[in-house]
Amino acid sequence: MGTKIAVAVDDLTVAYNYKPVLWDIDLSIPEGVLMAIVGPNGAGKSTLIKSILGIIDPIAGSVAIYGKPYTKQRDKVAYVPQKGSVDWDFPTTALDVVMMGTYGSLGWIKRPGAKEKKLSLEALEKVGMLAFKNRQISQLSGGQQQRIFLARALVQNAAIYFMDEPFQGVDATTEIAIINILKELRKAGKTVIVVHHDLQTVPEYFDWVTFLNVKHIATGPVKDIFNDDNLTKTYGINYKVAVQQ
């Protein structure tokens, strides 16, 4: 595990209206971890990711990606949003959507060429979707759509990956396929940060975890801090109950 800090969050406070959604978050994520963010619904997990990516303005505090503000580090970051944020009827194919991941490195005006296409096909192959490359995206199942979005993040070739509930509404095969790819990313030295709901699979999938519920409760290796104490602090109820919910 690298000793560099990939993401540093300092004193972050966010409110949509008057109630704080995130309260004084201090958090540092070391490079090369596969990390879950856990917390009950409305804990501010999506908000945390969005504020790290500058999509939401915080009231106070700051975020650094490898020591610099996000706007200077866009090319180092890939983000897979919570599902349902695009129009699936859009006239475009699976391959086309994946290719969009390469646009960032191209910059304005320049068109994607053979190199970008090759990268995108490789990414499609990695997520097991090569056979569907010419499918219109509305003709894909929920799990397949999620894989396409993952492939798109892969071609961005970022250093840090953010994913908001990638397992939502996907079948078990897809879930395993996705987690295997995430594990591969970590092996390649990438930092992967995933909002996750299923507490039971945390020890199996992740090596690092953040507990969040408006306040930051704990961050560390799963084997050290994934325990009843932190779960109770986060969910306000007994760990066993939380797992069964």
Partner: protein, 279 residues
């Protein structure tokens, strides 16, 4: 060239110039913004006329396009407050601006020879007679030149920023994450749509502009799942209906813009029925 060919040329070029921004408006679920723009450019035209005293001045197009942009900005401001549903904002803004235009015209009826009917409905019949004459040489109808320049600019912009338009239309989040400002692209598109609307409505009227922007795109959207093909098909449908509509109007001896709209409508109806039959 005869007026007959001139009219068909103007209609054809206008149809092509409208179809391109139309595709992106439909995909962005902003089809109705074209309706709003086509109405609210009226006060811009009137005010532009007060300043220039020349209905043919290119400044008029600038003024009118500017009031198109103001419409878009106002709609967005209202949407941002969250006080009403998104589409309500459109319906609140454009009738108010249009009313201001109508009142300005009525108040200055002696100075402004603008007819609200003509604004709404336009008339291609007169378009060929306003000619571009340089040093005594006749270069054809002015309207044809204006809309052709706009079509060329639209095409250049489309070719240059195709990728950016596509990504910001499909996924705003990714677009901004990758550094393609959705705001810039949005206003770029809106500017093109406004300028096209102004130039087109002079010849074909406000309502036909809306039909020419939305209908070809909607019909093409029912037929293809490829954005390039959708753009090509829309231009084709627009151009075809323009020529077909012209001859239909001659045969019926009725309004050309009404007739082009009707042909567009029939075209859409057929494709719609085919689509229903397919499922």
């Amino acid at each position: 060239m005869s007026p007959m060919i001139d009219i068909q040329l103007i209609a054809t070029v206008t149809a092509a110039a409208c179809a391109i921004p139309g595709v992106f408006l439909v995909l962005r679920k902003m089809a109705l913004i074209s309706d709003a723009i086509s109405h609210s450019i009226l006060p811009g035209i009137v005010i532009g006329f007060f300043i220039t005293h020349d209905l043919a001045s290119p400044w008029l197009i600038i003024f009118a396009a500017f009031s198109g942009i103001i419409t878009v900005v106002l709609v967005e401001l209202i949407q941002k407050t969250g006080l009403v549903k998104e589409d309500t904002a459109i319906g609140l803004v454009f009738p108010a601006l249009f009313s201001i235009g109508v009142i300005l015209i009525a108040q200055n009826a002696n100075d402004v020879h603008l007819d609200v009917d003509a604004v709404l409905l336009g008339d291609l019949v007169y378009a060929p007679f306003d000619r571009l004459i340089i040093d005594g040489a006749d270069f054809g109808p002015k309207g044809l030149w204006t809309i052709s320049v706009i079509l060329v600019i639209t095409l250049v912009l489309l070719l240059a920023f195709y990728k950016e338009l596509k990504i910001s239309t499909f996924d705003v989040g990714l677009s901004s994450a990758l550094g393609f400002s959705p705001v810039i692209l949005h206003y770029g598109l809106m500017s093109v749509a406004s300028v096209t609307t102004v130039a087109a409505f002079d010849a074909v009227g406000a309502i036909l502009v809306v039909a020419m922007m939305i209908t070809p795109a909607a019909a093409a959207y029912l037929l293809t799942t490829d954005l390039r093909k959708m753009l090509l098909l829309s231009v084709l449908f627009g151009v075809g209906s323009a020529i077909g509509g012209y001859w239909f109007a001659r045969w019926l001896d009725a309004s050309i813009s009404g007739s082009i709209t009707t042909v567009l409508g029939l075209l859409f109806l057929i494709i719609y029925l085919l689509h229903l039959a397919k499922d």
